[in-house]
């Protein structure tokens, strides 16, 4: 009892990366606490999903499998998960900070009257002493997140209410198969006991899913080029580097306006916001309009011939020099060292 739950999100039958990332983290936390890691799958035609989940460390796979669960609707999911949590009393429940997780996790937290921390970037286990009551707690979940437009990093705890709940954005944590696969024992959720007629009140009339074209939002590595790339021809270097690193190509507005690449790749206030693990800014000066869309990247490497370029202020590594010289070197040394 008092195990760790990870809500598993399925996209057309495929397990979302963020769920596997959470299992990886959940495994680590469960080992630290000496408890089990339990995956919760709520969907339709999900048989077999436990194999993959076991590889990522799930001791138990709770399953609710019925047509009412797909496509996702808030109320059936909420009631099912709340029912299971009340029955099993996990101490921690983790969700991906996806549109689905951010839709129903708050509702679950409200129904259970327990705190939920959104968009955590780190999760740890540690002690806590309440400043007012001096009451001491062992083994709380530290829910660490940026707040206030990224201006502060807050560590949140949930001392007295259970479960402790958190959402985590995709790509923030590392996904890794467990050294030895866990049992992945399938257990059925008694969802029919938890769901009422009222939970089916909202009906989906129509769904239009767009083809995934260019998806820089979910990329772990982004190589972004700016006006400083010089030409459309030189901009191809960004594609070369991205391909080698398994990443995607982004661009500043100036590069898009100059016709170096498609508008879909534009990052910043008037483009998309990204927060990859690694952001390589090539020939980008770093105007606020651009940095607003990427300054939450876990690591930033800036390549610029101007040592005073504003981008260097938010960069972890600032390389001063010519992009046409540096990018091929990065490709060369990545290939040499990654073997």
């Amino acid at each position: 009892m008092n195990n760790i739950f990870v809500y598993i999100e399925l996209e057309e039958g495929v397990i979302a990366d963020v769920s596997l990332e959470l299992l990886t983290k959940g495994r680590e936390l469960a080992d630290k606490l000496g408890v089990k890691l339990e995956a919760v799958v709520i969907g339709h035609n999900v048989a077999g999903v436990e194999v993959e989940l076991a590889k990522y460390g799930a001791d138990t796979v709770w399953v609710a499998d019925d047509a009412i669960f797909a496509p996702f609707r808030t109320l059936p999911h909420t009631s099912t998960l709340c029912g299971l949590i009340r029955a099993e009393q996990p101490q921690i429940v983790l969700f991906g900070a996806t549109p689905v997780g951010r839709d129903f996790a708050p509702r679950v937290s409200s129904a259970l009257h327990s705190g939920l921390t959104a968009d955590c970037t780190q999760l740890e286990i540690g002690p806590h002493k309440d400043a007012k009551t001096s009451k001491e707690y062992e083994n709380l979940l530290y829910q660490i997140r940026p707040a206030f437009g990224g201006n502060i990093i807050a560590t949140i705890v949930n001392p007295d209410c259970r479960p402790q709940m958190a959402t985590v954005r995709e790509g923030v944590m590392r996904k890794q198969e467990a050294a030895t696969p866990a049992a992945g024992e399938v257990k059925a959720i008694a969802w029919r006991e938890y769901i009422s007629e009222a939970d089916l009140a909202v009906t989906i009339i129509d769904r239009q899913i767009e083809e995934r074209k260019i998806n820089i939002k979910g990329a772990g590595v982004i190589v972004a080029g700016g006006y400083g790339m010089g030409s459309k021809e030189n901009f191809k270097l960004c594609f070369d580097l991205a391909e080698v690193l398994g990443g995607q190509v982004g661009a500043s507005r100036a590069a898009v306006d100059a016709g170096f690449c498609e508008h879909e790749r534009q990052i910043g206030q008037t483009g998309v916001t990204v927060r990859p693990k690694l952001y390589i800014a090539c020939g980008i000066s770093g105007q606020i309009q651009h940095t607003a869309g990427m300054d939450e990247s876990a690591m930033i490497i800036a390549i610029n011939n101007d040592p005073e370029a504003p981008i260097n202020k938010i960069a972890d590594y600032a390389i001063t020099g010519d992009v046409n010289d540096i990018i091929p070197k990065m490709i060369k040394y990545y290939k040499q060292n990654s073997k």
Binding site: P71, F104, A118, A154, K313, D316, A318, Y334
Partner: protein, 292 residues
């Protein structure tokens, strides 16, 4: 002919996180709102626009703002009235201080029970916390269905709405019975500008506390003669609520620690274009699992 709806927009006055100063946080780790420029939360403006369009489609409908905050949050109620809202409610009390999302949702839901609404519309999330939790939590506390990430109301039916919502990739239309809670995405239509005629009409709209501050002023006298200029002020005592569930006491989450990011300017590690430097960088990135 659609029936008249009572529409309440949940809005928040937020610190402009693009302009954060040094006094942004109190020693207790909560936000020091007094030290920051305050704006109408952007997605709540999208919510207001959706509400105003719904009002136009259903003759006789009303749009009111409900906001929780200090007295100066009355500014966003006036702003909304200049754009077409009929009035508003300011939920204000020291007892609400330090509320996390759950305590906030509880207070708002108690106020909404008192006010009554057919449709409750909120922005998806506020820029100071980015949690996107209050809309769904209010819905749960009131036992109402929710539709998140809405972009528009496609059709008004007798006792339901057909709403288009944005998915991660794509859109979905759902039919939701009312009363319901809708949260609105930034991809929804932008709010209309302030209307000069409405600015003239409502510029003296006030809460009782503002009237009491200068009861002899011309503005105060105008408000006392004209009911439509009265913004309603609600305290914890005015809503039926369990005080244990308000403010810091009612918040399950506690801030353990705050680290300021802005004022610890990060020092970039400087590298040259030399083969040695680039090689070393790639080795580091691979070793730290940033790559590969």
């Amino acid at each position: 002919m659609n029936k008249a709806l009572k529409i309440v927009v949940l809005a928040k006055q937020v610190p402009d996180t693009r302009n954060v100063g040094k006094d942004a946080m109190t020693p207790e780790g909560t936000v020091n709102r007094a030290a920051l420029p305050a704006i109408f939360n952007p997605e709540d403006l999208n919510a207001l626009e959706l509400a105003l369009r719904l009002k136009e489609e259903c003759a006789g409908s009303t749009v009111h703002i409900l906001t929780m905050g200090p007295f100066r949050a009355a500014d966003i109620i006036r702003d909304a009235m200049f754009r077409g809202a009929d009035g508003g409610y300011l939920l204000t009390d020291r007892k609400f201080a330090g509320s996390d999302t759950l305590a906030t949702s509880y207070a708002l839901s108690c106020a909404l029970r008192k006010i009554g609404a057919d449709v409750i519309i909120a922005g998806r999330q506020a820029i100071d916390g980015d949690t996107a939790q209050v809309g769904p939590q209010v819905a749960e506390k009131l036992g109402l269905p929710q539709v998140t990430y809405a972009e528009c109301v496609e059709q008004v039916k007798e006792s339901s709405l057909i709403i288009r919502r944005r998915l991660e990739r794509g859109v979905e239309s759902v039919e939701c019975p009312i009363p319901a809670v809708i949260t609105v995405n930034s991809s929804a239509p932008e709010v209309r500008p302030q209307n000069a005629r409405l600015v003239m009409k409502y510029k003296y709209a006030m809460i009782p506390t503002e009237i009491a501050a200068d009861p002899e002023s011309l503005a105060a006298k105008m408000v006392s003669e004209r009911d439509y200029l009265k913004i309603v002020e609600l305290t914890a005592a005015d809503i039926v609520c369990d005080e244990q569930q308000l403010g810091l006491t009612g918040s399950p989450t506690k801030v353990k620690k705050i680290e300021n990011v802005v004022f610890q300017a990060k020092e970039a590690k400087r590298l040259s274009a030399s083969d040695e430097d680039i090689n070393e960088l790639m080795v580091e990135l691979i070793a730290s699992h940033t790559l590969g």
